[in-house]
Assembly symmetry: C2
Homo-oligomer: 291 residues x 2
């Protein structure tokens, strides 16, 4: 594995490209945005004129696109699978519904290329520092061939299973907990405010007690700011908790806490705050409770 085609150069993708270059890989970068292609060119990547051109001389393709529809378009519509040499692997690292990942994987493997379902957790901070948690589902032999790539992108690689779609499912479960924990922190702060407690004190005590969560300690401080910098947008959780509910519907399983949390992110976006930091879901509780 020496040369990687990297398709999708957004907030996550461009940081992951930087890590690959630092790790000694050559990178062919492609994005529909010329500005995004130029940005990775300045880092030392080779900008490509099309997704297929990026794939042509690559040892592997990484997709960090928006959703499964974009992944399918790039792979089959834009000809990435045909452009990639037979036997080489495609790594889908975007967050997508498990059943669509399975369909894409079947089409890719039927065309004689490898496929790894490999979503990540850790956000832009994890992408920047190479400390992503990578959840991978693929036959062991296919996964083993790309471990050197994952080693520079993440600090933890979990082999979730042999069947593509299993890692997408685990990422969905991950987002269920992340979304509910953010909303729970907002609910706790809103009730504390209504009862007249000092919120920085509440965060200080609960962030170090049995009530703590990774999200309470990460989003909690930004919930106490009136206009925090955007680390991850409200609309990401509108999408990802929507994915959780679609997955639960697909499995015919009840997920009532996720359903409630979703309403609060959705309403926050509906008031025009979709691009705000996701900590601002607190504002939905604040307007609801009049605090």
């Amino acid at each position: 594995m020496k040369r990687i085609a990297f398709i999708g150069l957004g907030a996550m993708g461009r940081r992951m490209v930087a890590r690959l270059l630092q790790g000694g890989f050559a990178v062919n970068g492609y994005d529909v945005s010329a500005a995004a292609r130029d940005a990775v060119a300045t880092l030392g990547a080779q900008p490509a004129a099309s997704a297929a051109e990026a794939a042509r001389d690559a040892d592997a393709v990484i997709l960090m696109v928006v959703d499964a529809a974009q992944a399918a378009q790039v792979l089959f519509g834009d000809g990435v699978v045909r452009a990639l040499a037979r036997g080489r692997p495609i790594l889908l690292m975007a967050t997508c519904p498990a059943w669509l990942v399975s369909e894409i994987a079947e089409r890719v493997t039927a065309m004689g290329r490898g496929f790894v379902d490999a979503p990540v957790s850790g956000g832009t901070a994890g992408a920047e520092t190479g400390t992503l948690t990578i959840m991978a589902a693929a036959p062991s032999a296919v996964l083993d061939a790309v471990r050197s790539i994952f080693a520079v992108l993440g600090h933890k690689l979990a082999h979730v299973g042999e069947r593509p779609g299993q890692a997408a499912t685990l990422k969905t479960i991950n987002q269920l907990l992340c979304g509910v924990h953010i909303a729970a922190a907002a609910e706790a702060f809103a009730l504390a405010a209504k009862c007249g407690l000092d919120l920085p004190m509440v965060l200080d005590v609960l962030g170090d007690s049995a009530a703590s969560s990774w999200m309470l300690n990460d989003r909690g401080p930004r919930m106490l700011e009136s206009d925090p910098a955007v680390s991850s947008a409200v609309d990401i959780f509108v999408k990802d908790l929507g994915l959780v509910l679609d997955t639960a519907r697909h499995a015919k399983a009840a997920a009532p806490l996720a359903a409630i949390a979703y309403q609060f992110f959705l309403a926050t976006s509906g008031r025009g705050l979709g691009a705000a930091d996701d900590s601002q879901v607190l504002r939905s509780y604040a307007v609801l409770n009049g605090t």
Copy 2:
């Protein structure tokens, strides 16, 4: 502060008495159960024939009773306040509704004794090792006089405010997050199981990702056991999430995630599992989803 009257010698109380004895305090122990009194006598405490007798020669009284009604009965009905010398403090460390704590505090201070509202987080493990988080609300001078007691019981003392009831409110907010996080872990496991994922693998990955919570890592392993040892019972969260909802009703604030979590603990208890470990709230999701 040399001799403490400790009233309420249950799972928390007897462990806290052991810590006080190890810390060099003398302890007069009282509980309605003779077996509980005998148990602390073997640790080196002085068993008392009544709550008032325990208080008579004490420098301070600690209450670790079941609820506010028991606290009021012990203090006013059984004569503990009158038995305690004037000016000495009463520390209410049980989890009680904030408005009842305020009422009790007013009566105690009107009788010329000090009062500290001091609930704890950390459970029996924290009680055993002296690593409780103690939330205290009292005038600074009253609190300062009992810091040496709290120092052997907890590793963190938060002075929440000057008014008794404020710490009870914070403990309630703490329980909101704890209860929702346990139920969220159960919801995540239940959906993961329905989707065919291996649950120990799910716990291993998510316990170390942005999806993690203190409760996921503490209760998660016990959720994967069929009959785990009881660390804290389902009925404790039926009580404590009930207290969260009472507090929200009292404040006229919405707490929808807490309300959903409460339903699952309540139904678990209703199927006869009230004394089971609270991790077994997972079974309500399992029966609901048929997994």
